[in-house]
C-alpha cells in the first residue's frame, strides 16, 4: 500500500473535556458548510462526519496522504479552533484500526455511558446524511453497513446493553418491574429541581400517561409543568391526592419528610390492589422510610438507585472483553475484504474501476443512491 487511505480523525470524550468539546461541536449550519468544503478537498474520495455531544469524528478514504491533514485544517478553520491545539487532543486512526473504532463506536463500546444504544442511531444518521450528500462510496458504504451488523451482533450476543446505568432510567426500569407498562401510569413529581425533572422526563419519554408537578413554590411548579407539558398541583394537596398516582418522584429540598406513613396508609386503603412506587431522590429524604413495610408499596431512595446503576455498569464492564473480541474479529474480517479497495483508491485508481472490482468481491452493490459507483466528494 502506498500510504494509509482509510482514516478517522476527530475528538472524543476520552481525551477532550466537555468545555473543549463544546467548541468543537458542529452546529447544523456549520456542518453543512463544512460538508461543502470537504467535498472540495483534493484526494478525499469519500467521507462521513459523526457529530454528537461526546465526539466529532471524520471518517474518510483518501488517495492522497495529505488529505486527512486538509480535513483537520478545514474543520479547525470552520470552528475557529487552534489547529496546533487540536493536534494535541485529536484521535487519529488508520486502516484496520479505523474500522475497529467505527465498530466499537456503533456498538456503544466507546461511549461515555458504556453500552448505550443512542449512539447506534447517531452513527446511522451520520451515515445516512453522508450518503444522501453523495459523500460516501464503496469503502465507507461497506464499512458502515458492516459496522451496523457488527453492532447489532454485539448487542444481541452479549450483555453490554443490559440494565440501565443512569439513575433516571433505573427508576423507569423499576417501575416496569412493578407495573409492567409505563403507559398507564400516573406520575407525581414533588419538587421542581433538576434531578426530579430528569426522572420525570425519563418517565415521559417512555410514555407515562400523565405527569403532575407539585412544588413548595407553586409558580415554579407551574413553570416546570408548562415546560414538560404536564399539570401542576398545590404542594399542600400532595398527601390528600396521593392515591391518584402510581409513581411518586420525590426531589424536594424540604428539611423534613413530605410524605408520611399515615398518608401513605390512607392512600393505599383507597387503592389496595394497585402498587404505589416512591422514588425518593431527596436529601434529606422526603418519604417516611416506614412506608416500605406496607404491602404493594415500594420505596427506593437515591442510594438504592445509584447502587443498581453501579451494579449494571459493572455488569456491562464485565462484558467488554467479550465485546472487544467480537468486534476485533469482525474488524479483521472486514478489513481483509476492503483492504484491496482501499489500496486501489490510495494508489489513485479511478473510482469507477474500483467500484467495479468491489462488485466482483461483494454480493451487495455499494453504489450510492445517485447511481455513481464512487460518489466524488465534489459531487456529480
Amino acid at each position: 500500500m502506498s500510504s494509509p487511505a482509510l482514516f478517522v480523525i476527530g475528538a472524543t470524550h476520552h481525551r477532550v473535556p466537555l468545555a473543549v468539546r463544546e467548541k468543537l461541536s458542529l452546529s447544523a449550519e456549520n456542518a453543512l458548510v463544512l460538508q461543502r468544503e470537504l467535498r472540495d478537498i483534493d484526494g478525499l474520495r469519500e467521507f462521513a462526519v459523526l457529530n454528537t455531544c461526546n465526539r466529532v469524528e471524520f471518517y474518510g478514504v483518501a488517495s492522497d496522504a495529505a488529505a486527512a491533514a486538509r480535513v483537520t485544517a478545514a474543520f479547525c478553520a470552520r470552528q475557529r479552533f487552534d489547529a496546533a491545539e487540536f493536534e494535541k487532543i485529536r484521535l487519529d486512526l488508520r486502516d484496520r484500526e479505523a474500522v475497529q473504532h467505527l465498530l466499537e463506536v456503533s456498538a456503544g463500546l466507546d461511549s461515555q455511558m458504556l453500552g448505550e444504544t443512542e449512539i447506534f442511531g447517531q452513527v446511522k444518521d451520520a451515515y445516512a446524511a453522508a450518503q444522501a450528500g453523495g459523500c460516501t462510496g464503496p469503502v465507507l458504504n461497506r464499512v458502515f453497513q458492516k459496522g451496523f451488523q457488527a453492532a447489532k451482533h454485539v448487542r444481541t450476543n452479549t450483555g453490554i446493553t443490559e440494565g440501565q446505568v443512569s439513575v433516571a432510567n433505573v427508576a423507569v426500569d423499576l417501575a416496569l418491574n412493578i407495573f409492567g407498562n409505563i403507559k398507564g401510569t400516573r406520575i407525581l413529581l414533588l419538587g421542581a429541581g433538576e434531578i426530579g425533572e430528569k426522572t420525570a422526563k425519563a418517565f415521559q419519554s417512555r410514555g407515562a400517561a400523565a405527569l403532575t408537578v407539585a412544588s413548595r413554590r407553586f409558580e415554579r411548579a407551574m413553570e416546570l409543568a408548562t415546560a414538560l407539558n404536564a399539570s401542576a398541583m398545590p404542594f399542600e394537596q400532595r398527601e390528600a391526592r396521593l392515591a391518584e398516582f402510581d409513581v411518586v418522584v420525590c426531589a424536594t429540598s424540604a428539611p423534613n419528610v413530605v410524605v408520611t406513613l399515615a398518608a401513605t396508609k390512607a392512600a393505599m386503603q383507597k387503592r389496595p390492589a394497585r402498587p404505589l412506587f416512591f422514588i425518593d431522590q431527596a436529601l434529606p429524604r422526603d418519604v417516611d422510610a416506614g412506608v416500605a413495610e406496607i404491602d404493594n408499596v415500594f420505596l427506593y431512595n437515591l442510594d438504592d438507585l445509584a447502587k443498581i446503576a453501579e451494579e449494571n455498569r459493572a455488569a456491562r464492564e464485565a462484558e467488554i472483553a467479550k465485546c472487544r473480541a467480537i468486534v476485533s474479529e469482525k474488524a479483521e474480517a472486514l478489513w481483509r475484504q476492503i483492504a484491496g479497495q482501499v489500496e486501489a483508491l490510495a494508489g489513485g485508481a479511478s473510482p469507477r474501476s474500483t467500484a467495479a472490482s468491489a462488485e466482483v468481491t461483494s454480493p451487495v452493490s455499494d453504489r450510492a443512491p445517485n447511481g455513481s459507483a464512487v460518489p466524488s466528494p465534489r459531487g456529480n
Binding site: N177, F179, R274, Y300, D304, E311
Partner: protein, 281 residues
C-alpha cells in the same frame, strides 16, 4: 414411533420432556443467568402432545376420561396445567413461567410414575354410562390444573415481591414478569379455576339429587372444601381484603392442600362399585 407403545411409556416420555424443560431451564439459568425462553416452551409443547397420546390410549382402555386412580389424576392435573401454560405462556415465553410450569409438570408426572401403587388398579367405565359424572370429574381435575398454575404464578409473585422489597433485581429476578401482571394473571386464573370447579360441582349436584345413594361423601366433602376455600379467597381478593403477599401465599397453600386431598379422595373410592378393572396397557 408406534402406537403399540404402552400408555405408561408415552406418559414416561412426556415426563421426560417436562423434566428436560426443567433441566434445560436450570442449565440456562446457571450458565447464562437467563431462562431458555422458546426452548423451554417448545420442549413443554412436545411433552404435552406425547402426554396427550398416552392419556388417549389410557382413555380408550378405560372407556372414558382417565381419572380412575391417583396416578391418572396426577397426570391429568399436570396436563391441565400445561394446557393453560401453552395458552397464556406465549405472553410470558421469555419469563420464568415456563421453567416453573415444567418443574410442576415434571414433579407431578414423575412422582405419579414412581409410585406403582397409585396405578395398581385401572378401573374401566368408572363413570358408568352417565357422561355428566365424567364431565364433572374432568372439570374438577382440570380446575386443579388451573389452581396449579395459579400456585406457580403466586410463587413468582412472591419472588418478584421479595426482589423488589429487598432491592435485589439482577440475575433470574430480572426475568420475572411485573408484579402487577402477576397479580392480574393470578386473579384471572383464580376466577377461571373457581368457575370451572363450580360448574363441576353443579353438574354432580344435579346427578346426586336424583341418586343420592351413589354419592361418595368423603369425595364430595373434600371437593366442596377445596371449592369453598378457593371461593372464599376469590371473594376476599375481589373485595380487596386479601391482597399481595397474603393472597399469593393463600393460593400456594391451598393448592398444596388440594393436592394432598387427592389421595384421600382416591382411597375412599370403592373399586367394586365403580366399574370393572381394565388390564394394564
Amino acid at each position: 414411533m408406534s402406537l403399540a407403545l404402552t400408555d405408561r411409556t408415552w406418559l414416561l416420555a412426556a415426563a421426560g420432556f417436562y423434566f428436560a424443560g426443567f433441566a434445560w431451564g436450570t442449565v440456562a439459568l446457571l450458565r447464562q443467568g437467563r431462562p431458555s425462553g422458546p426452548g423451554t416452551y417448545f420442549t413443554i409443547a412436545i411433552g404435552y402432545v406425547v402426554q396427550l397420546v398416552g392419556l388417549g390410549i389410557r382413555g380408550r382402555a378405560v372407556g372414558g376420561c382417565p381419572l380412575g386412580n391417583q396416578f391418572e389424576v396426577f397426570q391429568f392435573t399436570a396436563w391441565s396445567a400445561i394446557t393453560l401454560y401453552l395458552l397464556v405462556g406465549v405472553r410470558f415465553r421469555n419469563s420464568l413461567l415456563g421453567y416453573f410450569t415444567s418443574s410442576l409438570a415434571a414433579a407431578l408426572t414423575l412422582v405419579s410414575l414412581a409410585v406403582p401403587a397409585w396405578d395398581a388398579t385401572q378401573r374401566a367405565h368408572i363413570f358408568g354410562s352417565n357422561p355428566w359424572i365424567e364431565l364433572h370429574a374432568a372439570l374438577a381435575v382440570f380446575s386443579y390444573g388451573v389452581f396449579g398454575l395459579l400456585a406457580l404464578t403466586s410463587i413468582m409473585y412472591l419472588l418478584r415481591n421479595h426482589s423488589l422489597k429487598s432491592k435485589h433485581l439482577g440475575g433470574v429476578f430480572s426475568f420475572l414478569p411485573s408484579i402487577l401482571d402477576l397479580d392480574h394473571i393470578g386473579v384471572r386464573l383464580l376466577g377461571a379455576g373457581v368457575t370451572i370447579l363450580t360448574t363441576a360441582l353443579a353438574v354432580i349436584a344435579l346427578y346426586y339429587l336424583r341418586d343420592i345413594s351413589s354419592a361418595n361423601v368423603l369425595k364430595i366433602l373434600a371437593t366442596t372444601l377445596v371449592w369453598v376455600a378457593y371461593g372464599v379467597v376469590f371473594t376476599l381478593r375481589m373485595r380487596g381484603r386479601l391482597l399481595a403477599k397474603r393472597f399469593a401465599w393463600s393460593c400456594v397453600i391451598l393448592f398444596a392442600a388440594a393436592l394432598l386431598s387427592i389421595p384421600l379422595v382416591d382411597r375412599s373410592r370403592h373399586p367394586a362399585s365403580q366399574g370393572t378393572e381394565a388390564r394394564s396397557q
